[in-house]
Point group: D2
Chain length 257, copies 4
């Protein structure tokens, strides 16, 4: 809750990424003012909060499929208990948090997708190398037709995800975030799905080794699985795509009347 | 069997497309010479055979999922019984049938894929219109979340198939048929799969009407299902893609040594 | 529309199964009384209508994926234009059509599922025989690992569909139609899905021959595809299952409190 | 390598389950004699090795998707370097390791499947509870049709996996391990697949919370994913099922001649 005083006062329990590293000096908190009469898109503010502000407490680290991601500081449950910061810590202005978030969501989402595709390429490389090294039932794994078809399906999935991502990126560049919304939602669904499929095949080809830290596959899987929820779960994006498709179909229909 | 005489003499039982229309005046027969010692790629010849040549018999029409495709003359079982034509009816030259076929397969396959994508657009249009007209359980079909998500998944499938087809087409144009082989195989797998999925969803939304001739959906489905076999079944293309992927991965690996 | 007069008078346009055979002497028409104030479950009546009653018109046969099913008389569009029959033609009683329909839906649906499983066995038999006869790339089709895995997946799908159908049948026998509703909905979704998958694999193994009348596969596919809509589309059954599952989970939860 | 001396001497690098707990006093090592001329099914022996035998070294713990499973002692890389134990530590007899393993594989696999189904029930319970507690876009999650259909699909998958497991168990009980091989392979493929699907849906419904230790879902997923590899990867089981199906189909065919 954000109170409009000479200073900002609020409290909240959040899951924060990177909070566990000593390099983390400030948090950007997105707070909603429950007392405002502003429209639902103007109730949120983003506020810079130094981590040593009284009332900020790191409660516990949270794992993702067992990984704590210590290198990046991990996910932490953080409580903000009557935290008070100067008004000047507001980013952009009061009630403009949603606007800031929207501005970065298109580029942020496509950034995740691009990295997904890179991860998928790594996984497919590992799959192919392993399939060339290991033998079962008297022949190399890639001579097993089923494994070969996995390789083909993985390449197809990656190519299709890459092309759609490039199209979305081109729309962002040339038409802007808003006009690219449908394409961004499409890749946000497609890219994690493609990479999860590739990693899953790679794990299966690597056998038990694929689960442990000798390969990056299991950790990649864990991280990529979060992308089906982070920045909007698949289901919200599918509903967005459907809505926009129906509008476009209706427009075309009217144009023919 | 092709005998090298002053004339060409052969026999065969074939399934021929379009043979049932009176406009069909000639067949192009691909015949293999069983007596040749030529390499396996130089044993086939293509021969123009007028349909009124003695020994050419239309045996019976063949349906595809119950459709006889009368408009295009339909598929026919045709027997060639000791058929004899002048040597000048040979296309390009003896033993060059495989070469001719290879030359047209890339463009032929992409042509099928392009039409698939057009068909998928038609099916999605029908799906959306029907979902906007019909009501069940008190709301329009497109307000059913499951139907909405089908619409989204269909659009995603079409976009991805289209982009990969455009990439393959661009490769054919700029790099040639041979260099585009992997991309052509990829779309040959992807495009029929995408369109079949879209048509299947559209049928489900149209209900029983979707099966009959009041909508083009069932006939489109029948035709598109043949594309998973025609010009090489999916499985052959997947094996081709896998082989080329493994070669490329091996090349990259060596480049890093 | 059903008018309550000394006789029954109604009109409607329907799609009727079997109407095209001369053996078809009567239709059972399910008519809804638009003027009644009865509850929504008591607005429908079933009426025996001799096909030679004035006002009954066979408009046209309707194909299902191109098949007209002449043997069983086919599907017909039938118009009922101010058709008048004696009140004694009412089945069971006015407003009891829904009750009659409900009584037969459980057994009717399971009957379809049982036949689906039989069809799936036929298709798998054809698949295995063909895979044992044909050779590609120098080995029998069933030595292609991908085809072998299709065979395994088909057997798995059939076994699972059969066991669930047997469970549903046992529930109907021992607990009655109503108590078996969830199981019946489950097999109504599962059985057509399983058989369509098996037929699709069988077609792919048979190649182009699988589409034509030399094999029963394409016609079986067409018929089985209608089962995903007939007697309630998959989506309605899935919603029913979910509702009952949620009720049971809630009951268990309360039992633990 | 096993040497036949007054004592057994061997060396090996293994991945051992449970090796990290102080309660682990002995390992059962399956060793292959490379010098034997015995048939391939009689080259392995099982040997009891006290963990404090000289030459036994715990190298490092191995994680599974980030989990170290400390409670059960975890997976460890263990080296056996010229380890020497009395001949009396041989289980059953020299060269009978394969026989011992085969004897327990049927019951062992079905045991995994039974626990999978239990895990799937837990995951579905969590899914339903969460879907009843949380709201998005103004309605409870289970009122979102897509979530409702997940619940239905999960129930269907669990029911089918359970029935097939019961059938396999009944075959083991009444016909013995060997006669139940096909059914055991079928559930070994089906059960992990079903439970992974249910857990994945449950995670998606729980959102980011589903990944962390506040729910058992992510850890269950990690463990269940290993079952697609442990005790024979899916692909080996599918090949086994196909082989047995083809034999049965061939037998039936001959019976009809």
């Amino acid at each position: 809750m954000l109170l409009r005083l000479p200073f900002l006062l609020f409290q909240s329990n959040e899951q924060c990424f990177g909070a566990g590293t000593p390099n983390c000096k400030v948090a950007i908190v997105m707070a909603r003012d429950k007392n405002t009469s502003a429209s639902r898109y103007k109730q949120h503010s983003m506020i810079i909060v130094p981590m040593d502000t009284p009332g900020v407490k790191l409660i516990r680290p949270l794992s993702v499929f067992g990984y704590f991601d210590h290198f990046h500081g991990g996910h932490f449950e953080v409580h903000f208990d009557n935290v008070q910061v100067p008004v000047s810590n507001l980013l952009l202005g009061e009630g403009r948090g949603f606007e800031i978030a929207q501005g970065r969501l298109g580029p942020g989402r496509i950034h995740h997708c691009m990295r997904s595709i890179g991860a998928a390429e790594v996984a497919l490389k590992i799959l192919c190398e392993r399939a060339a090294q290991r033998t079962s039932f008297g022949k190399k794994l890639y001579h097993h037709e089923v494994v070969a078809h996995w390789i083909a399906e993985c390449r197809i999935a990656i190519e299709q995800a890459r092309l759609l991502t490039l199209k979305a990126a081109s729309h962002i560049d040339t038409l802007g975030n808003k006009a690219a919304r449908k394409e961004v939602s499409m890749i946000k669904v497609v890219a994690p799905r493609a990479v999860l499929k590739v990693i899953d095949c790679a794990i299966q080809v690597c056998g038990a080794a694929g689960f442990c830290e000798d390969f990056p596959l299991a950790e990649m899987f864990a991280y990529m699985r979060t992308l089906r929820i982070a920045d909007g779960p698949d289901e919200v994006h599918l509903s967005t795509i459907a809505k926009m498709e129906l509008l476009e179909q209706a427009k075309q229909l009217r144009a023919h009347l």
